[in-house]
Symmetry: C2
Amino acid sequence: MQLDERKKKILQAIIRNYLETGEPVGSRTISKYTDLNLSSATIRNEMADLEELGYIVQPHTSAGRIPSDQGYRLYVDTMLEEREKEVEEMKGMLLEREDKMEALLKQVVRVLAQSTNYATMISAPQIQRNKIKFIQLSRVDMGQILAVIVMEGNVIKNHVLHVPEGLDDETLLKLNMLLNTHLNGLPIEQINLGLIAALKQQAGIHEAIVGEVLDAVAEVIREADDLEIYTSGANNIFKYPELSDNVKASELIGAFEEKQALSALVQETLADESNTGIQVYIGNESPIQNMKDCSVVTATYELDEGMKGTIGIIGPKRMDYDKVIGTLKTLMHQLDDLYKRK
Amino acid sequence: MQLDERKKKILQAIIRNYLETGEPVGSRTISKYTDLNLSSATIRNEMADLEELGYIVQPHTSAGRIPSDQGYRLYVDTMLEEREKEVEEMKGMLLEREDKMEALLKQVVRVLAQSTNYATMISAPQIQRNKIKFIQLSRVDMGQILAVIVMEGNVIKNHVLHVPEGLDDETLLKLNMLLNTHLNGLPIEQINLGLIAALKQQAGIHEAIVGEVLDAVAEVIREADDLEIYTSGANNIFKYPELSDNVKASELIGAFEEKQALSALVQETLADESNTGIQVYIGNESPIQNMKDCSVVTATYELDEGMKGTIGIIGPKRMDYDKVIGTLKTLMHQLDDLYKRK
DNA sequence: GTTAGCACTCCTTTTGGATGAGTGCTAATA
DNA sequence: TATTAGCACTCATCCAAAAGGAGTGCTAAC
């Protein structure tokens, strides 16, 4: 037995209906609300087939059917026609371009949550920071100097050093020269023990300062790993009864608050270099165990300079995939525009 | 009628018992588990009085009694003996001093949530930033220069300026001189239109750069207003049935995610310059409407340099006030120690 | 191949009684 | 006068049984 056109249509009708109501859908409903002109009995036969094929399941005997993960998958993969509906209000809200990246991301994720009624997340773009552009030491006051480290991609790190013994301007200048002549433009892999030792030796009694600056550099690299994630609309899950029993809600909220858990999602999404940049994880497909009762739709966005980040929408399996994917696509375009205009 | 010693004891017993069980407590329970040696009938009479006085309420006829907000209030105000139990595990976890403020705060709030089983929040200390310490412009590459602004309290702001036409070293030096001679040590209130105009005039064709730098200064001030807040353990509320019905949970989670809502709490706490630095808001006393079914315990912490922030613990009204307040006190001491050692 | 009809399943809701915790009141007691 | 025992009463909770209803599978007829 295989999936003919009529079965597909029926499956699609079942899923559509279930997306709306969240209730198991029975044969009579399908018979009435499709243009197939088939009796409920025929639908029942077909539904039995669809169940055997694994696309739908019965929560219990004498209940209607609901889509299985496999059913959703087929729906998402093959039945989704393009949808380019403009998301006008979002356009409006994003229009005034925020200057700061953080504020922009927070705004995006909040608008997205509001307009979809699902929980949303966004990861800050991961920025290349493999080379040191330059380092500058400046006096803040007696006993304190400020080290500014600029990495590739204009990632900037400030670090205040305490110099109990004080430091005259000439020495400061010399240290600046020393650091910059050796480190400017240097990929961080090339900062090895030998180089560090050499620098420290040349710094003489101020080797501690050199050490601290290098530590700060190391920290920039470390920070690149644990990426910033913003979330919004976590409490939207309460709008879907199938997600809001105590146990599930607690797990989901926990995952959202402990943002580190979400990074698995980001990794997974960035790793997969597929087609449209939009991926759909249904139920157990999700990289995050706590979301096994949800569906997760992710998209990769890319600002200029090769900065990539991930947007995620988390909702019930009966998510309105059509709308979510449409919204994400529109959003991608707008982010593009926003940054092109910079 | 007034609150005599025996009534107080009975009230205390009722509250203690309710804190443990979360169930309404009846006269027989009190009669059995106190050393008053009174029959349940007598207790009933007393309870009727206590109810009339407003310290306890009956969820419905023929149910036991639970403390009213007023009852909790009395309990917290007068019955709480000091408790200095060491919170050993917290000490251990905080011991390795984190260098970065943000990481420290996140760790504190997480440990607190874990050890209390309530939801917790912490606000980053508000730092004095009224004077400019110094400003430095450095070349990043052709067409880009970096402005570093250091404010009082070592608050540092980086800002990258795009200079399409390029800029030679000499001009850069001159601009640096110009900015620093006029702005170093200047309280921001004194940066007025006249000064700005004068600076711009002296900068000549580079007045745009001066303008941008001043904008960046303005932004530092603005940032001081919307304070950073970290939260943890929001999903702990699911441990208390009286808070975890859909509506309440959703509201609470929302407040926690939309951290801006929590700032009301911070303002309120910092404003009140009372005794111990620890405040307890019960039910409707809370500054945040969404928390009207909770109790909120806040504490003000103060690191050196007059940096103040707020810690908050949000739980059910039947919170273990004793333990929470003890824990907060211990934590205050530890934060103190941690920063003294710096 | 499609459909009408029917028996059957099983979830959900309703109902009503039993249970029990707890109260308020009254009368007896110390 | 304060305390207590006793009793009628209330009301949430539990349980089982019944009713209702949505939906199915199967069979026989078209």
